[in-house]
Amino acid sequence: MAKEKKEYKKINWKTEAKLTPGYIILIVWVLFTVVLLGWVFAASFSTTKEIYQGNALKFATGFHFENYAKAWSGGNVSTFFTNSLVYSAVSCVLLILICAPAAYILSRFTFLGNKAIQTGFVSAMGVPVIMVVLPLFSMISAMGVLNNIFANKILLIFLYVGINIPYTTIFLLTFFSNISKTYEEAAAIDGCPPTKTFWKIMFPMAQSGLATVTIFNFINIWNEYFLSLIFANSDKLKPVAVGLYGMINSMKYTGDWAGMFAAVIIVFLPTFILYIFLSEKIIGGVTGGIKG
């Protein structure tokens, strides 16, 4: 730590000057992002009239928190929000419970078909959703699930889990293969059965990998659009992404721009807050998953 601080204080103006064009590019980019998000955030507290006059940032009539209240209760956002939260949370837990054991087996044991399963999972990550969605739809509608709200919710979670299995398994597989085998060997000598070894020793040791992949799954499922569009027909089932799309379309007609921006911010905030606290972990995970 101390060494880092020392380096931080030392400013070499000559090298800094050389980097100026780089700083300019980055600052322009960041500025644009901040203006984009900042303006929408500000507009969500303004009124439609002020937005149209170009005075969204002046708050002449104060802050309008009622935009949020309106969007939350009137525009169904509360339902979409709860749905998304339930879908994402339940799917993330299930994904870990299903994929962590599978990834562990694939990383540790040699058996016929191991390589084939791995190749299958990796290829599946490149398969467009459109390749699987038609048969899924016919299978599911044959089961008659789409008419029952509760069954349909279960079905959506089932789909979110299924579609993310290849990615989660491959990510964890890389992670498990980097953990030394000596722990299991020691446990085996002490007479611990392999299944117990996994849950008591390996699973807790993989915590940071499990956390990273869960963050990714959460963000992916929170933002998922195509499957939800096809399989969530009723307003009671829609997650935020599909719900927001419907709201935007209807607000074009009612002309409630301030309310629309408030809805955008409500959808945007959960992943954004997650990102503020976990950006380092997320960024590390993006590239970590690819290398393997």
Binding site: W29, V127, V129, P135, T169
Partner: protein, 301 residues
Amino acid sequence: MKKNKAMIITFLAPAVILFCLIFLYPIIRTLTMSFFNITGVTDPMSKWQFIGIGNYTKLFSTSLFRTSMVNLAKIWLYGGIIVMSISLLLAVVLTSGIRGKKFFRAVIYLPNIVSAVALATMWLQYVYSPKFGLIKTFFEKIGWESMSKVQWLDNEHKFGALLVAYCFGMIGYHMLIWTSGIERISPELFEAATIDGANKPAQFRYMTLPLLKGVFKTNITMWSVSSVAFFLWSQLFSSVTADTKTITPMVYMYTKVFGAGNSVTEHDAGVGAAVGVILSICVVIIFTLCNKFIKDDELEF
């Protein structure tokens, strides 16, 4: 060993069964469906009529589908050039020893974690807005009247507007892939080059770029996989169902299979399945070409 066998099966079974249900079986069935004449997606197999490659010839003789493929190719090529060059530039700047690297990197990646619907709405309703838009205000402030009056979302400009907004959201992800590639190159190599008198541009041209070949391949593959699934942005940017300016194969398939089902968009699940197969073949072709022409095995680092 027998114990292990039971463990292998119980640990693997849930993941493999789900994989077969959600990927393996549907893929095979979609492939089969693409050779049959099927009206509704829920039709039982007994109602399917085998027509060989009929769905494919029908698709390629439909001008709307051809337009959608051209749009997709344009998104892949133009968007690819924009995203690859800007993300590489940002990655090089970020790894050049700049201060606040973590902060800049986090902000550039930010659009990737935001719901695409929210992001697209920000662009559509704010940046491109003809009444209070960011671009309009910007050009008004600097006094460029003609530019501030451009309707960015009319038919003439819509595709460009869509492309720019989409690329903005994708750059952060590819920037991270580049950055991790550059950071894996040993700094000793650059030190040696500096001692030998190579300047920064020469180092970039003759060292960084060749060493990044493998990373480039990853980037192209990832870009192609996400381009093929281009759907949501197109749906948000089009005001009518089959907007020729923004339609992509995925949107075409959606209207063909799940659409309103009027005379314009007659239901045809067989054709929808064929669209899926064509897109998958595109991904496979790009992947194969990349592996053939970009060889990274001689440069392990």
